[in-house]
């Protein structure tokens, strides 16, 4: 078996919907990765702290509240400030198409919305050079 990635699945901000995040966490575990789930309502600062302490290579952010435009770039910025610029960040949830270019620019590597299959995500992870 290949070395598993350590992946933090996080719910930033005031958003109580974590069905999607839990499904993703489970799918990535079944794909052989070590998934750390943060639980609900974490601040960007907490998420960066968790990524650091857990020595994660990947962080997945889930948001269904509409605040992704602020929260996702904030996490990326704080990761860089903490010296974790090599951590790959992907997003998921309800992220309208028109918001995506700005998120990619801020450092989000991929965005997986509703309808994404777990194999698409796993393929994305398998192709990472981390």
């Amino acid at each position: 078996m290949p070395t598993p990635l350590r992946i933090v699945i996080a719910k930033p901000g005031l958003d109580g919907h974590d069905r999607g995040a839990k499904v993703v966490a489970r799918a990535l575990r079944d794909a052989g990765h070590e998934v750390i789930y943060t639980g609900l309502r974490r601040t960007p600062e907490q998420i960066v702290r968790i990524a650091m302490d857990e020595d994660a290579q990947v962080v997945g952010l889930s948001s269904l509240s509409g605040a992704h435009g602020f929260l996702f770039p904030k996490v990326c910025e704080l990761l860089r400030k903490a010296g974790l610029e090599d951590v790959v960040v992907f997003g998921g949830g309800i992220i309208p198409e028109r918001d995506r270019p700005a998120l990619y620019k801020s450092g989000i590597s991929a965005i997986f919305g509703p309808g994404t299959t777990s194999s698409e995500m796993i393929e994305f992870l398998n192709n990472l050079e981390v």
């Binding site: 598993p4 350590r6 794909a31 750390i36 702290r49 968790i50 650091m52």
Partner: protein
């Protein structure tokens, strides 16, 4: 070593170089118990108490990897509100797969490193479901067994062999019915077999009841003879198992046994 470097070093336990931690004062608390008894919530309370007392606390939460996929879902920290902020607390989730063959010895090194780096207390948390988990927790200087009401009878805990390792037993969820009775059964069972039975504390991580009492008991706990022997036994067995797993003939012995070339006796001979 900064925080990042420490986190990195913990990912490669086999390359950790750290001096052995001092025996006194004791600094490693193992917390174990069946799934759902409230270990994580109780650990959260203990961490808060220790932080308030000026300690630097590191938590190593050990969970089994899936034997099928090799992956793991590590969710212990979501139940601990105390661990995601502040410089004086460090939380690390550990999947057993990262530590092939030698979970206890790797954990031991991780703890040595944390203590060397200035952390004053370390908590090892693991589900007390089987022998390998018992081995994990036997690395600790003191062991807290968490129980709860409505878990069947105390025979379950005795059967698992965990009760004899416990330096202290917390019966959590004392706000629910039946906790008193569970505590009484455990006390009876402990009195039956030990000269210095482990203290049994009723508490509730949810309401905070009994937490002060629990903290006080943990902080002043001396190690009774029974658990010391039981822990030493588990540590020795763990070390022996690690030797076997790392033996150059191990794979051959397993293969030979499975395809009928060796009997168990002969396979064992190959590992001498």
């Amino acid at each position: 070593m900064n925080r990042r470097e420490l986190a990195r070093a913990l990912s490669n336990p086999e390359s950790i170089v750290a001096s052995e931690r001092p025996k006194n004062p004791w600094c490693v608390l193992g917390v174990t118990g069946a799934p759902g008894v409230g270990k994580s919530c109780l650990v959260d309370q203990i961490v808060k108490g220790w932080l308030a007392g000026g300690e630097k606390v590191a938590i190593l939460a050990v969970d089994p990897s899936s034997p099928i996929s090799g992956g793991a879902l590590l969710g212990d920290r979501m139940r601990m509100s105390s661990v995601d902020a502040g410089e004086n607390v460090f939380f690390r989730s550990i999947a057993t797969r990262n530590l092939p063959g030698g979970v206890p010895s790797h954990l031991n090194k991780m703890v040595d490193l944390l203590i060397e780096q200035g952390w004053t207390k370390v908590i090892i948390e693991t589900v007390g479901a089987g022998q390998s988990e018992i081995r994990v927790v036997a690395v600790a200087d003191r062991i807290l067994l968490v129980e709860g009401p409505a878990r069947g009878d105390v025979i379950q805990a005795e059967k698992a062999g965990i009760l004899e390792l416990a330096d202290i037993v917390a019966v959590n969820k004392c706000d629910l019915e039946g906790a008193d009775r569970v505590a009484e059964e455990i006390r009876l069972s402990l009195n039956f077999s030990a000269d210095e039975p482990a203290p049994v504390i009723l508490c509730s991580a949810e309401t905070g009841e009994g937490i002060e009492d629990l903290l006080e008991t943990i902080n002043t706990l001396s190690c009774a003879k029974g658990p010391t022997i039981a822990k030493a036994r588990e540590r020795l067995l763990a070390a022996h198992q690690e030797l076997m797993l790392n033996h150059p003939n191990f794979t051959d012995a397993v293969k030979g046994l499975s395809d009928g070339r060796y009997t168990v006796e002969e396979a064992l001979q190959r590992l001498r």
